[in-house]
């Protein structure tokens, strides 16, 4: 007998897509009420995702059969499109819901201008719907379309303040995104030409290491690396993330970048798994070390609070690349990588939200002149510090557990006799130190003596949401086992 609720999963998955789309369409058609629709929608979507994940965990204890596939319109693959839910997608859906809800609440205070509210909410709700659809998609071409939904709405959100810095950041971001999408699409076309199917599960069953697969892997990975701002294809990230409005930066650094990385992981765990070789892993790992060093140095150099946070995203994503060679030695490491991504997304979003509040209070975010406001707003300093501690990986935070597990995997590589493993261990440990340096740089002014000036009044949402999200990020360590067990429910992955 199947556990209760399992038969509702397919309808729940399609319903989640339908619900998030309905919220977005409604806000588009009725912009006057967009913020109310957005708030109710955010609550409804979050509740739906939490119930869905509870049903999933209750229903699928067997890792081999845990994936639920839904044929849209009743057409099974290869003719139709399939939605695909497994442990990996559940984890990222929950992450998206938590960060999305926090961003929505924060935006209630942040975007208060009547006209800007009308522009912001529909775009943000489309972005959220696009992310939900991305994590649920099981079809190569549909992934391209959902990626476009995500990137177009993200670019529009970067640009919508209409300032010179934001618009030039957005133009760069848009060109990079189109290039990345076209590269991805070319890979999809190559795979379709060889195998005649688009469904990821069917493709996985048919791929072997031929010239088509190699070229498709290169094109799709490069395109997604461009979108995920993985080193060395990261140049667009800081101008786009650093000059966007705070809630948008939070979503971009926390979720949109993560979405592209999720897709890289999904492809290399499935379709491209036969292509992974140790040499490839070492190359990716070296890129990761480069990202860690370069991003951290830029973060130590930058003069604006939000620029520091934006560059720290480049640095932190270096860990994900360093993890690639570790995955080749111990395939199970990928779950640690996803857990790290989740913690990073939560912490990064809360840092950006806190930075937005400080910028609002002070009227700027130049670090040199931010001391007065920082001294007068201990709550924000606490939020910055709490999230920063998670980014550094100090004990008892989610970041600590993620980095500890990564280090353990790295040491395992060394013990297995790999010399280069020492480099990975050094990179993981050293990256934490560099993170400590730039996090301290952000909060240091509050410990110096000087005038305290709270600046502009801040709405309740903007005051409390960053702290709430930072607390969630720090407490995520408690959910470590749950997350890793959920991720184990991903059929096909090691």
């Amino acid at each position: 007998m199947s556990p209760p609720g399992a038969e509702w999963l397919p309808a729940g998955i399609a319903g989640l897509v339908g619900l998030s789309l309905a919220v977005a369409v409604l806000a588009t058609a009725w912009p006057r009420q967009a913020h109310r629709i957005g708030l109710l929608g955010a609550l409804a979507v979050t509740a739906w995702v939490l119930v869905l994940s509870a049903v999933f965990l209750n229903a699928g204890p067997d890792p081999e059969t845990a994936a639920t596939r839904v044929a849209l319109g009743g057409w099974e693959a290869p003719l139709g499109l399939m939605l695909h839910l497994d442990g990996l997608s559940v984890t990222l859906l929950v992450l998206t819901a938590v960060v999305g809800l926090a961003t929505s609440l924060y935006s209630l205070g942040y975007v208060h201008d009547r006209i800007e509210r009308r522009q912001f909410w529909p775009l943000w709700l489309w972005l959220w719907a696009g992310l939900n659809m991305l994590f649920l998609s099981g079809d190569a071409f549909n992934l391209y379309i959902t990626l476009e939904v995500v990137s177009l709405s993200a670019v529009a959100l970067v640009a919508f303040t209409g300032t010179a810095a934001a618009v030039s950041g957005a133009v760069r971001y848009l060109l990079v995104n189109i290039l990345g999408s076209l590269s991805f699409l070319m890979g999809v076309v190559l795979l379709f030409g060889e195998h005649g199917v688009l469904d990821l599960v069917l493709l996985e069953a048919r791929t072997e290491a031929g010239p088509t697969e190699r070229m498709a892997a290169v094109l799709m990975t490069a395109g997604l690396m461009l979108k995920a701002a993985l080193f060395p294809l990261h140049v667009w990230l800081a101008p786009a993330h650093g000059s966007a409005p705070a809630p948008v930066s939070a979503v971009l650094s926390g979720l949109v970048v993560t979405g592209s990385f999720y897709l890289i992981l999904r492809l290399w765990l499935g379709v491209f798994a036969p292509l992974a070789t140790p040499a490839f892993g070492i190359l990716v790992g070296l890129l990761g070390v480069g990202a860690l060093v370069w991003g951290s140095l830029q973060a130590l150099r930058a003069g604006r609070l939000k620029s520091i946070v934006a560059y720290s995203t480049v640095a932190q994503f270096g860990y994900l690349l360093v993890a690639f060679p570790l995955m080749l030695v111990d395939p199970g490491t990928w779950r640690v990588v996803v857990f790290f991504t989740v913690v990073h997304a939560l912490a990064k979003a809360s840092v950006f939200l806190a930075a937005g509040t400080l910028q609002h209070a002070a009227g700027h975010d130049r670090l040199a002149d931010l001391g007065d406001v920082l001294r007068a707003r201990p709550r924000m300093v606490f939020a910055l510090g709490l999230a920063g501690v998670s980014l550094m990986g100090l004990p008892f935070t989610g970041g600590f557990i993620a980095k500890y597990l990564l280090l353990e995997a790295g040491l395992g590589t060394v013990l297995a006799g790999s010399v280069i493993g020492v480099l990975w261990v050094l990179a993981i440990a050293g990256g934490g130190l560099l993170a400590a340096a730039y996090v301290l740089r952000m909060v240091a002014p509050s410990f110096q003596r000087g005038r305290a000036d709270a600046g502009e009044t801040v709405s309740l949402w903007m005051d409390w949401v960053p702290l709430g999200l930072a607390t969630v990020a720090a407490l995520a360590g408690l959910a470590g086992t749950l997350t890793l067990n959920t991720l184990a429910l991903t059929p096909g992955a090691p």
Binding site: A29, G73, R118, W126, E148, V149, L152, V218
Partner: protein, 331 residues
């Protein structure tokens, strides 16, 4: 016959690649845009040779009707902004003869420095070479044609591409409509629209042409929409044709854009997505799956969705041509 076809293919491909190359090597932006319009025309011929009349129809409607006009108007907008900045705005700095301001003087992009030439060429050659190698190694796969063919009788329409677009892969098509809408929301978020730069065109030719052409374009659009269920055509091609007619109307009266009230306009641009979603949710509730139809209802529902999608696409394309949001949308 076959030899001639091969010769035709070769000449056409050489023309396409040559036009694309000259377009990207132009220093004069206007020339690049005219070459791009020609590129679209030659592409339509290539789609015909690849037995894809639907795509050729779309390329014709887009390339000739939408993109060309959009690019020309963009160039003119850039030029008039530059002219305005040069002619003494009090706060704007004087044009720097070496700085980026000089680059845009009269829409002119100087050829790039030679430093990037070899790396860029090597990179492009490697990517192109690897692509060609991979493509030449591919088998003669049949693709999904037999699967689609086997399901045509339950799809509700007689044209396989329409069946794929609005039944078998309706989710993709729904998201495609959403993307057109998001692009417009993005353009609207940048600010209100301003006047389209235009000069007087005295004489009876322009109004006469419009009086004749706009009704014909509307009839053609409706015909292409109707044809979609059994022959090449469909919602997007029809929407693009109607959109082109709308762009003609905008160009005819650039200084008196119709002041659409915000509410109906918003409803108009989101009607296609909204109706599609409603039908999809009904399918979920009725047990056919999200975006599924009962077999007997497939044809009328597909036609209903296509009509709404055509209107929304046409309206959205015209709004994207005008670019900023209308004043009515802020009310």
């Amino acid at each position: 016959m076959n030899g001639l076809l091969v010769l035709f293919d070769l000449v056409l491909l050489a023309g396409i690649v040559g036009v694309a190359w000259r377009c990207l090597a132009s220093t004069d932006l206007f020339r690049a845009v005219v070459l791009f319009i020609t590129f679209g025309l030659l592409l339509a011929l290539a789609w015909v040779r690849l037995e894809a009349p639907d795509i050729a129809l779309a390329e014709a409607a887009i390339g000739a009707g939408i993109t060309g006009a959009l690019l020309l108007v963009t160039l003119e907008r850039l030029r008039s902004i530059m002219a305005e900045r040069r002619s003494g705005r009090p706060h704007s700095p004087p044009p720097d003869p070496t700085g980026p301001h000089a680059l845009l003087r009269a829409l002119h992009d100087p050829l790039p420095e030679h430093r990037t030439f070899l790396p860029a060429l090597t990179f492009a050659l490697v990517v192109g070479g690897l692509l060609v190698t991979a493509l030449w190694h591919q088998p003669q796969s049949v693709g999904l044609e037999p699967v689609v063919d086997a399901h045509m009788d339950v799809s509700g329409v007689d044209h396989p591409i329409t069946a794929v677009l609005l039944n078998f892969r309706a989710y993709d098509t729904f998201l495609e409509l959403a993307i057109v809408l998001i692009a417009l929301l993005g353009a609207w978020s940048l600010g209100r629209h301003d006047l389209i730069p235009a000069r007087p065109a005295p004489g009876p030719i322009l109004p006469g042409t419009l009086r004749l052409l706009v009704p014909v374009a509307v009839v053609t659009g409706v015909y292409v929409l109707w044809a979609g269920s059994h022959a090449p055509g469909g919602a997007f091609q029809a929407g693009a044709i109607l959109g082109a007619a709308g762009i003609l109307l905008v160009l005819a009266r650039p200084r008196q854009l119709p002041m659409a009230p915000g509410g109906p306009l918003r409803l108009g641009i989101s009607a296609g997505v909204a109706l599609f979603l409603l039908v999809g949710l009904y399918g979920l509730a009725a047990g056919h799956g999200f975006l599924g139809y009962a077999e007997a209802w497939a044809y009328p529902l597909i036609i209903l969705i296509e009509v709404a999608a055509t209107l929304s696409i046409a309206l959205t394309l015209v709004a994207l041509f005008v670019a900023g949001r209308p004043a009515g949308d802020d009310a």
